[in-house]
Amino acid sequence: MGGTSWLLDLNLLALAALACGGGALLFAMGAWASGLSASPLPPVGGNAVAGANLGFVAPLAGVVMVFVTTLTWLQYNRLQSATQREATRLILLTESAASLGEPGRAHLFEAIAGYARAVAGPEWEAMAQGGRSEFATQRMEGLVRAYAAAEPATRREWQVLQFGSSLIRELGSEREARLQAAAAASNPALLGFLAVTVALSVAQALFLTPPTMATKLAMGALFTGSLMLAALYAFVLSHPFAGPARLSSAPFEHVALRVGR
C-alpha cells in the first residue's frame, strides 16, 4: 500500500474531490506545458489527426477500464464471500459441537474459538499485506487435530462428528479461497496498467486545440476528472482492508463470542 495509505484514510467524497481536482490540475499543467512549445495557432489539420488518434485510443481505454474494474470487483466479492462462508461453517461447527458431551465439547470449542480469534486478529493484518498468519495456520491444524482425535460416546455424537469432519474439509477450502482472494485483491500491476491508460488518454487529448484556452481547460477538466473518477472506483475496491470499502473481521469475532457463550 505504501505511499497511498494516507489516501485511504479519507472519506469517499474527499477522495473523489481529490481525484477529480488532481486530474483537472494535471491536465491544466499539461495544457500550459504544451502551450509553451507549440505555435499559438493550431497546425493545419492538427485537430482532425488528434481526434482520429483519440478515437483509436477510446475503445482501448474503455476495454482496459472495464477489464480492471471487473477484475477488482470480482476479487473483492470473492474475498467477501469466502469470509462469510468460512465464518458460517465455523458457526455450524460450534452449534454441532454444542450437542456433544464433555470433555469433547470443551476441546472442540477451544479449538474453534482459537482459530476464529487467530483469523480475526493476526491473519486479518497479514491479509492486508497479501499474506497469511502462521499462528492462524497452527490454530487451523489444531482444529483439524481436535476433530480427528474426538471420540464419540454415542451414535448421535458419531453423526455430529462426521458432519463436523465434512465441515472441516470445506473450511480448509474456504480458508485457502479467502487467502488467495486477499493476495490477489491488491494488484499494483493492474492499477499501474490503469494509470498508464489514463495518462496516455489524457496525453492524447492534450493534442486537441479548441479555439480558446478557457474551453480547453474546462473540457479537459471534465475529461480528466471522469477518467480519474472511474480509476478511483478500481483503486478503492483493490484495497479491501483499508479505506471506504474496508471488509470487517466481525464474522470471525462473532464466532469467538458465540463459542464463549
Binding site: A16, I91, R155, A205, K216, A218, A245
Partner: protein, 264 residues
C-alpha cells in the same frame, strides 16, 4: 437512516415507488442537461461554441466509450445480483422445507422445539431481516434465530435407524441452507460499495452530460432537443441499473412470501 449522507440518500431513494425514482432521476438529468445548455449559450456566443464542435466531439466520443463500458459492468452486475438473490431465497426455503419433512419421522415431543425454532427463524427473516436487507444489512435478530434453529437441530437425539437416516440427510440440508443464507446476504451489496458504484456512475453521467454543453449549433432549439434525447438515453440506463441494484428494496423487491409460508 439519514438523508444527510450519500448512503442514506441512496437508501431512501431505493425504497421509493418506481415512478418516483424514475421521475427524480429523469427530472434531475433533464434539468441538468437543459440548464447547462442554456447557461453556456447565455455566456458564450453560438459562433464560439460552433468553433468548439470538432474538439468537443472527439472527447465526447471517448467519454461515451468509458461511460458505456462502466454502465455495462454495473448493469450486468446489478442484474446478476438481483436474480441470484432471488434464486438463493428459494434455495434456502427449499432446504428448510426439506428439514421440516425430514424431521417428521421423529416423535412430536422430540421434533417440536426444532419446528418452532425453524418457524421463528423464517418469521425473523421475512420480517426483521427483510427490512435490514433493504438497508444492505443483515439482522442480528434473524442471525440469532438461525443459530437457535441450528442448536435445536443438533440437539435432536435419533433413537431408531430411520431417525438416524433422517438426521444424516438433514445435516446435509442444513449445511446447504446455511450456504444459501450466506449467499443471499452476500448478494445484498454493502452500502459503502453501493454508494461507491453509484457515486462513480452518476459522476460520469454528469460529466458526459456536461460535455454536451460545449457543443454549438445554429439553432438553440435543436441543440436543446438533442441534449434532451441524450439525457433521456443516459438516465434510462441509470434508472434501470438503480432499480436492479437493490433486490430487497422498492416496488420490485424480492417477495418474502416463501419465508412467510414457512413461518406459519
Amino acid at each position: 437512516m439519514t438523508l444527510e449522507t450519500p448512503e442514506g440518500l441512496l437508501l431512501w431513494l431505493a425504497q421509493q415507488p418506481t415512478w418516483i425514482v424514475a421521475a427524480l432521476l429523469f427530472g434531475l438529468g433533464i434539468l441538468f442537461t437543459l440548464g447547462g445548455v442554456l447557461l453556456t449559450n447565455a455566456y458564450l456566443t453560438p459562433q464560439r461554441l460552433i468553433a468548439n464542435n470538432a474538439v468537443a466531439s472527439f472527447k465526447f466520443a471517448f467519454m461515451a466509450e468509458i461511460f458505456a463500458g462502466l454502465m455495462a459492468f454495473l448493469l450486468v452486475g446489478a442484474g446478476d445480483r438481483y436474480f441470484t438473490a432471488n434464486s438463493q431465497v428459494f434455495s434456502e426455503v427449499a432446504m428448510l422445507d426439506g428439514l421440516r419433512v425430514v424431521v417428521d419421522v421423529m416423535p412430536e415431543i422430540e421434533r417440536r422445539p426444532f419446528e418452532q425454532a425453524l418457524a421463528e427463524y423464517a418469521g425473523a427473516v421475512a420480517g426483521a431481516e427483510w427490512e435490514s436487507m433493504a438497508r444492505g444489512d443483515e439482522s442480528p435478530f434473524a442471525a440469532a434465530a438461525f443459530e437457535a434453529m441450528l442448536a435445536q437441530w443438533f440437539a435432536l437425539a435419533p433413537s431408531t435407524p430411520q431417525e438416524n437416516s433422517a438426521v444424516l440427510l438433514g445435516n446435509q440440508m442444513i449445511a446447504v441452507a446455511a450456504e444459501a443464507r450466506v449467499n443471499r446476504l452476500n448478494n445484498n451489496v454493502s452500502q459503502t460499495v453501493a454508494s461507491l458504484s453509484w457515486f462513480t456512475l452518476l459522476g460520469l453521467a454528469a460529466a458526459t452530460i456536461a460535455f454536451n454543453w460545449f457543443f454549438g449549433t445554429g439553432s438553440l432549439r435543436s441543440q436543446l432537443a438533442m441534449a434532451l434525447v441524450l439525457s433521456i438515453g443516459i438516465m434510462t440506463c441509470t434508472v434501470l441499473a438503480f432499480l436492479l441494484s437493490f433486490p430487497f428494496a422498492g416496488e420490485h423487491a424480492i417477495d418474502p412470501a416463501p419465508f412467510v409460508a414457512l413461518a406459519t
